[in-house]
């Protein structure tokens, strides 16, 4: 089977998993302007932005010859539930003979989950499948670990763009990994690569938390590499949403985090809104300078968060910037808003540091 999947998170590792199970993998091209345009052309007008990107990347992968799409789903009130089914309908209508395999949560549909596993397992013996799955999951955890390291160190880099280049290097290193033993070696190598990058750790930086809709937060190509852009302004961007984190929360729901959000939103609405409120509260506790909240235009759960955000910002005395993104890729207006936001954070930072009550200071 020629398999493809949505471009989300560490795609090279998914490729590796499917290849080791004996499938041919058509890599979804990294979403570009063309992907978004293609997706927006065939999607319903008011569906959320991530669907448009994902549909666009399916279309590009189908052009390259993919036959089967593997994706995840769940049961809930968010539109993400229908991504698999809706994209299959649209692609069929366009004349592609494509099959979409949707992995629902095993807790909700165990039979369907097993059937899907058998299909993806490609008649390989069970221990081999589990071994490959184990390796893939460990690789995902490793990849997320290094990504966290890199976003942490990026604002300190002396030559701008070094870490982004090293990140691609590390990704291909991880993707070349063949066994758990090899993984240890690879991790060591990756550590050395990061340690070798020249940095200036004495630099003064700001810390900003990134929360919002999971696809926009995780995928650099959908948020125009907001982490790299902010790093250039001397801002470290911290986010909690990674695939590994998603696994963890799926297995062990973060009760403490959700309980902290209860004062603002008692019931879950359907997406990650409660977690996001919890993250904002946690970031405040850790002394962050500000929060950036990303949501796709018209996102149903995140709009509920957005109504709560003004109250949160006042209660916590924390600047929060909400950015709503869609297929209009002109990024200049957002850039101006980000610059203004960072400028405001610097002023606040200086005022707090020098403890001059109310006196206006200009930084530069």
């Amino acid at each position: 089977m020629k398999i493809t999947f949505p471009h989300m998170g560490p795609v090279l590792i998914y490729k590796k998993l499917f290849e080791r199970l004996g499938h041919e993998v058509i890599m979804p091209p990294r979403p570009s302007q063309r992907t978004i345009e293609l997706g927006a052309k065939y999607s319903p007008e008011f569906i959320c932005f991530p669907f448009k990107i994902i549909l666009g990347s399916y279309l590009e992968a189908l052009e390259l010859g993919a036959e089967v799409i593997v994706t995840t789903g769940f049961i809930g009130a968010c539109r993400a539930v229908y991504y698999g089914d809706l994209s299959e309908r649209i692609l069929r209508q366009l004349g592609y003979k494509v099959k979409v395999i949707v992995f629902d949560s095993p807790a909700e549909d165990f039979q369907g989950f097993l059937r899907n596993c058998r299909e993806i397992g490609n008649r390989r013996p069970l221990p081999e499948v589990i071994g490959n799955l184990n390796l893939a999951i460990r690789l995902i955890y490793a990849s997320d670990y290094f990504q966290k390291q890199i976003t942490h160190l990026r604002p300190y880099e002396l030559i701008s763009g070094t870490f982004s280049r090293k990140w691609t290097e590390i990704q291909s290193l991880l993707a070349s990994c063949v066994s758990l033993k090899h993984l240890k070696k690879v991790i060591k190598e990756a550590r050395q690569i990061i340690a070798a990058v020249p940095i200036d750790i004495s630099r003064e930086i700001l810390k900003v938390g990134l929360v919002g809709e999971i696809y926009l937060v995780m995928e650099g190509c959908s948020n125009n590499e907001i982490e790299e852009k902010l790093a250039k302004f001397g801002v470290e961007v911290v986010r909690k949403q990674y695939i590994s984190n998603w696994f963890n929360h799926f297995l062990f729901p973060p009760r403490k985090l959700l309980r902290a959000a209860d004062t603002y939103l008692k019931y879950t609405v359907g997406g990650h809104e409660k977690e996001n409120i919890g993250y904002i509260l946690e970031f405040k506790k850790r002394g962050f300078d500000g929060i950036i909240h990303l949501l796709p235009f018209g996102c149903m759960p995140e709009l509920v968060t957005q109504t709560i955000i003004p109250a949160l910002a006042t209660d916590l005395d924390l600047p929060i910037l909400s950015l709503s993104l869609d297929e209009q890729t002109g990024w200049v207006s957002n850039m101006i808003r980000l610059e203004a936001f960072v400028e405001l954070l610097w002023t606040r930072h200086d005022l707090l540091k020098e403890n001059c009550n109310g006196k206006v200071i200009c930084r530069r």
Binding site: P44, E45, F46, I47, C48, G73, I75, G76, A77, C78, R79, V81, Y82, G84, D85, L86, R89, I90, Q93, V102, Y264, L265, K266, Y267, V269, G270, G271, E273, F297, G298, M300, P301, L303, V304, Q306, T307, I308, P310, A311, S322, S324
Partner: protein
């Protein structure tokens, strides 16, 4: 409650959930000895007042809803009805914005929770069930439980009336009366009750269709069994309670040769509809059924809508004549 004591005034916003279950709420509140006060019909002002309080990308029904809340506060009600919409089971999810409604109201209008009357409810798209009443004294909650039972009966009665006499919801509750003279076409009209029966949001689409000589069929005139049967054919049924009723009704309209064409009226920025209309339009395309998608927004001008409805009905009439010849 003592006789001498003043009756508690509960405000019912006349949109969103009460467009579906106005009878239920009004009966439940009045029968349990409180006074039900309805907000005024929505107008341009309602939508504008509400829209100013919300992030701009919210859908029109929520903006109108906040306007209704502000209107009720002007009227000096004691509490406002804001049911907590809970999901139980697989197929009765509310739209996320409806689930978060008490929070949206709390953070945009600064209404304290003590002024919200929030029973917890579940709904399967037709009737609704109160699963938890707010904390009240025992006598009151007993009275409210019997009132709820009675209200449920009345609510069911309204839906049966819709089905047997082929009436729309507002017609069955007597809020809306129109003489239907010519019936040259039979149109399947789809859309949430709070959009297509709201005089402001819908721009009186129902009246316009009647004036064009059309008979209108809506989801409430269909047997629930028929709707479910159509939904069962889908690989993944819709999980939103109100949305799935519309999709099921739409799919049965597509099969029904007595229906000449479908009109789906959706509000700008409606999330569930973006999925449902796509599925419906693909199905309608496959089975060659005329379908008109109308996007309603806060613009006052209704000339465009009239032109599109006229063009659509003329086309359907021509198609019908062609078939006869």
């Amino acid at each position: 409650m003592n006789r001498g004591q003043k009756k508690l005034k509960i405000g019912i916003p006349r949109t969103l959930f009460s467009s579906y279950h106005l009878t239920y709420w009004r009966q439940m509140i009045t029968l349990s000895g409180m006074e039900a006060i309805l907000s005024e019909e929505s107008s341009k002002e309602t939508a504008e007042r509400g829209g100013r309080r919300l992030p701009h990308e919210f859908c029109i029904p929520i903006k109108v809803f906040i306007g209704h809340i502000l209107n009720l506060l002007d009227k000096g009600v004691d509490q406002i009805l804001l049911p907590r919409m809970i999901t139980k089971g697989k197929a009765n999810f509310f739209c996320p914005k409806l689930i978060g409604l008490p929070e949206i109201v709390r953070f945009t209008t600064c209404l304290g929770t003590e002024r919200m009357f929030s029973p917890e409810i579940v709904c399967d798209g037709l009737g609704l069930r109160v699963i938890k009443l707010p904390d009240l004294d025992p006598a009151m909650s007993r009275r409210m439980k019997t009132a709820a039972r009675q209200a449920n009966e009345d609510c069911k009665g309204v839906l049966t009336k819709c089905r047997t006499q082929r009436l729309t919801l507002p017609e069955a509750t007597g809020l809306f009366k129109i003489d239907r003279s010519g019936e040259r076409l039979n149109i399947g009209l789809l859309g949430y009750a709070y959009s297509i029966y709201d005089p402001f949001i819908s721009k009186k689409i129902l009246e316009k269709l009647y004036k064009l000589g059309c008979a209108v069929t809506t989801w409430e005139m269909l047997e629930p069994g028929l709707i479910e049967r159509n939904l069962a054919g889908l690989k993944r049924p819709l999980f939103w309670n109100f949305g799935r009723m519309l999709l099921g009704a739409g799919l049965s309209f597509i099969d029904d040769s007595g229906i000449d064409g479908l009109i789906y009226a959706t509000a700008f920025g409606c999330g569930p509809d973006s999925v449902a209309t796509k599925i419906l339009s693909i199905e309608a395309g496959l089975r060659q059924k005329p379908l008109l998608l109308v996007n309603l927004d806060v613009h006052q001008e209704d000339g465009h809508l009239r032109t599109r409805l006229e063009a659509f009905t003329d086309m359907l009439a021509a198609l019908k004549e062609e078939r006869v010849v």
